[in-house]
């Protein structure tokens, strides 16, 4: 039986869209690759008691009720590997988790909401493949999802306010964070961001993080960067140093810290694969990353395809929630129904989206990625971890073999040809080769199969 609406992603955006759609009388299928809804931010936190109105807590409670009352078809541990158009609707192909990769299914729907979130952006540096070096989001997932700390002595590094959120999660669980290493200088740069904080309702979150760091006396080093990770078989120490405004290391300021875990991230990359499969128009976000273009109703350039949350540009959890609500409304209208959200609430939601988007833009302006990191990438440093392609090979593809775009580098070196399909290394390849990243990101974003699926399972599709 086709659903009215398939929602891909059960994070805050997907939950918000599902609640609006189900309340409006649409049949809803919600798919998530995790074993619980809540996404990266809320993880599996059970239906909380607090929160009212359109807060996440209230939406999550409503979602759980609507699963029972309106029969939202909630499918966890489920991956969408392909999205295609059929007639005026969509065909959504799914598979199970890694224990059930061959359990494929084909769903149909009139409308689709993509709310697939984002993952940490990584920049290669010497030693970054050592076990113990992980993304900030990965460290957060360990502690929030499995109640396990990534190590005994943890360094959090990279850039952006997310470093504070990760640190907060780690120290709240009793973790020993020895320092937060921020490459930018937010106090100097972020006057604009701080000025929009109160408007975006973000002051409370930030105050909570900063207070917790101060209480545990976790040093917050600005204009510092992790230059190298060292160890035999696993991470044993990091070399940090001061950096200038372009992120180039300042000689003589290096220090070595013993640690067994490094949680690192330089912003985020949106998951845009499914939108790309159906040819939705993309844009370059204010962080320089790829994002799905949407209008003020969260409609993409593809009819009946909505997108919400980080997929449409990195903007944080509150923006994701509001976009999810508006996307839910648009999906309901696409199905020819009246949305169960008042016109006033919709108008307020759209205003909130604009406000929060401005806040996100200000943060991206305050926490940019500067070029100096490239100087640290020595010849041996791997750029593509999947195919084990070193920086010297990537650079050589340009200097010796004449590659002029990321696709040529990929064909010449295999960088981006592995399991992750270039999701991790693509920004680094572009930067190291000095390619026009906008053209390269859009050109390289087409992934016809979003997650590996056994050929036999595809062949057996009747």
């Amino acid at each position: 039986m086709p659903s009215d609406i398939v929602i891909v992603g059960g994070g805050v955006a997907g939950i918000a869209a599902a609640v609006v759609a189900a309340r409006s009388g649409c049949s809803v299928t919600l798919l998530d690759s995790g074993s619980a809804v809540g996404g990266q931010y809320y993880r599996g936190a059970k239906s909380p008691e607090s929160g009212s109105g359109l807060s996440y807590e209230a939406l999550r409670r409503a979602f759980d009720e609507l699963v029972v009352a309106r029969g939202i078809d909630r499918r966890l541990d489920t991956y969408v590997y392909s999205l295609a158009r059929r007639d005026s609707g969509f065909v959504v192909r799914t598979r199970g988790d890694d224990r059930h990769r061959g359990d494929v299914d084909v769903l149909e729907s009139r409308a689709v909401v993509i709310a697939t979130g984002a993952f940490d952006k990584q920049l290669p540096f010497p030693g970054w493949t050592l076990p113990g070096v992980m993304s900030g989001g990965g460290a957060q997932a360990l502690v929030k999802g499995s109640d396990v700390l990534p190590g005994q002595r943890i360094v959090v590094a990279g850039t952006g306010p997310f470093l504070l959120a990760v640190t907060y999660a780690l120290i709240s669980a009793g973790g020993n964070v020895i320092a937060v290493v921020e490459a930018n200088d937010p106090v100097g740069l972020a006057r604009h961001a701080w000025s929009v904080l109160p408007a975006a309702g973000k002051s409370a979150d930030l105050a909570k993080f900063v207070t917790a760091l101060a209480k545990k006396r976790v040093p917050y080093l600005r204009r510092h960067r992790v230059r190298r990770a060292s160890g035999t078989g696993h991470l044993e120490s990091v070399t940090i140093s001061r950096v200038d405004g372009d992120w180039r290391g300042i000689a003589g300021s290096e220090r070595i810290w013993e640690c067994d875990a490094l949680a690192i991230g330089y912003g985020f990359t949106a998951q845009t694969d499914l939108a790309g499969q159906v040819g939705a128009r993309m844009r370059i976000g204010s962080d320089g990353g790829l994002a799905v273009e949407v209008d003020e109703r969260q409609r993409t350039s593809v009819p009946a395809l909505m997108a919400a949350g980080e997929t449409t540009g990195i903007g944080g959890v509150d923006l994701a929630r509001m976009e999810g609500l508006i996307a839910g409304v648009a999906a309901v209208e696409q199905c020819g129904r009246q949305a169960a959200l008042s016109d006033a609430a919709i108008a307020r939601g759209m205003r909130d989206v604009l406000k929060l988007r401005r806040f996100a833009d200000a943060l991206h302006f305050a926490f940019p990625v500067r070029d100096g990191w490239r100087d640290d990438v020595d010849d041996q440093t791997l750029v593509c971890r999947c195919e084990e392609v070193s920086a010297s090979k990537v650079r050589g593809a340009v200097s010796d073999l004449g590659a002029r775009d990321a696709r040529s580098v990929k064909l010449l070196t295999r960088a981006g040809m592995g399991w992750c399909q270039g999701r991790i290394c693509a920004p680094a390849v572009d930067a190291l080769c000095r390619f026009d990243s906008a053209a390269s990101l859009i050109g390289g974003s087409y992934r016809p199969v979003a997650v590996p699926v056994p050929l036999g399972a595809i062949a057996a599709e009747s």
Partner: protein, 89 residues
């Protein structure tokens, strides 16, 4: 509190908790690596930790290339370090 499970890693038994990922269950015991790469024979553990990068592949009950960060640990799991593609073992 979640139920205790027992899994094996490279033959030795370890306790874990139901609801933990395989990666978390291993890291909880100080095991940071469970794969060696197929070109340079280097150790790897988790990187992205949320299912995107495929660095944390492990062999589970004879099935290689399972993402440790996305797969819940189950009672009786036989986890093996993965060498290369995992198919030559």
């Amino acid at each position: 509190m979640s139920r205790e499970v027992v899994f094996r890693f490279d033959g030795a038994p370890y306790p874990g908790r139901d609801g933990q990922t395989i990666a978390a269950a291993l890291i909880d015991h100080g095991i940071l690596s469970w794969r060696r790469t197929r070109v340079d024979d280097q150790p790897r553990g988790i990187l992205c930790g949320i299912g995107v990068c495929f660095d944390c592949l492990i062999t589970v009950n004879g099935e290689p290339n399972v993402r440790a960060c996305m797969t819940g640990v189950e009672d009786g799991d036989d986890l093996r370090s993965q060498e290369g593609t995992g198919y030559a073992q």
